[in-house]
């Protein structure tokens, strides 16, 4: 995993990192650098659905994409190779997410030495109409 983080910093390629994390493989969550920033993607799959009747994604899967995108961005930017530890995350659900790919971007509200405050946005067709947003705090040093 540490090798994958070193490779990410050197090349901007998330492949080794996302392959090293079983859960992101299970979820179909990937990341790449687009326009100099981390873009997280959760590929649509039937097993992500929460409401089978309305064909809407499970709220937990959106939380997972938001948290993963924040962690990917912290790993890409960070100064240590340790995995940031989630202190807390608040997810706001803004509208139902359809059965299609979901994208996400993260912004650092404050990136300190110990703690990072991150705001994350997830959308489907239109970035101006987010399906969910999150505010999260991460611990960047060992507890």
């Amino acid at each position: 995993m540490r090798d994958a983080v070193v490779e990410l910093r050197a090349t901007g390629d998330f492949t080794a990192l996302q392959e090293a994390i079983p859960y992101t493989r299970f979820m179909g969550i990937t990341a790449k650098i687009v326009d100099g920033d981390v873009l997280g993607t959760m590929r649509y799959s039937e097993h992500l659905v929460g409401n089978a009747l309305a064909q809407k994604l499970h709220g937990g899967t959106l939380g997972a994409l938001l948290e993963s995108t924040a962690i990917f961005k912290l790993l890409w930017h960070g100064e240590t190779n340790a995995v940031p530890k989630t202190i807390n995350i608040t997810v706001e659900y803004l509208r139902g997410a359809d059965s299609e790919d979901t994208l996400a971007r993260a912004e650092f509200t404050r990136h300190g030495r110990r703690v990072a405050n991150v705001r994350v946005f997830a959308w489907q067709r239109d970035p101006e109409r987010p399906v969910a947003v999150a505010t999260a705090h991460f611990l960047l040093v060992p507890d």
Partner: protein, 154 residues
């Protein structure tokens, strides 16, 4: 608890499992199980699985699947509080990770819908490894409760 009550409780558990897990593809993919239930309360269990690990160095489950477990359990606790069938949707969910999860161990979420109004339900939950005085995570969520005549956006 009398012996004759136990089969009945198991039967209800099976029905709830059908409703909260069987009918929800992502809950089924996580293999969630009903641990316990009573009015306003629901407990679900997320079995440990290697493919849900977030950090391969420690073997600890990813926060994402714990978020799904907590969201599913909180939503179920709201449904356990309803007097008539209603559609609900999560408004927000806050999760504090108070201590690291342990590798190889299932995670149980206990959720309590402590207040429900005409349109909104409030839920508190904790996630733990079987000892609820030593939680992994503490959570609170709010849900919108749709009236029968309403549909679509909250």
């Amino acid at each position: 608890m009398s012996d004759s009550f136990l089969p009945q409780k198991d039967e209800i558990k099976r029905r709830l499992e059908g409703r909260y897990v069987g009918a929800v593809p992502h809950n089924r993919a996580l293999d969630l199980r009903v641990v316990d239930y009573r009015p306003e309360h629901l407990s679900l269990c997320l079995p440990y699985r290697d493919d849900l690990v977030g950090n391969p160095e420690t073997g600890v489950l990813h926060g994402g699947c714990i978020t799904s477990l907590i969201d599913a359990t909180c939503g179920g606790a709201v449904i356990m509080s309803l007097t008539a069938p209603r559609r609900i949707a999560t408004l927000d969910l806050r999760i504090d990770y108070v201590r690291p999860a342990l590798p190889g161990q299932e995670v149980i979420c206990d959720a309590h819908c402590y207040k429900i109004t005409r349109h909104v339900a409030f839920v508190r939950a904790i996630a733990h490894h079987g000892d609820d005085v030593s939680p992994i995570a503490s959570a609170s969520g709010t849900f919108v409760v749709f009236r029968e005549t309403e549909k679509g956006e909250s």
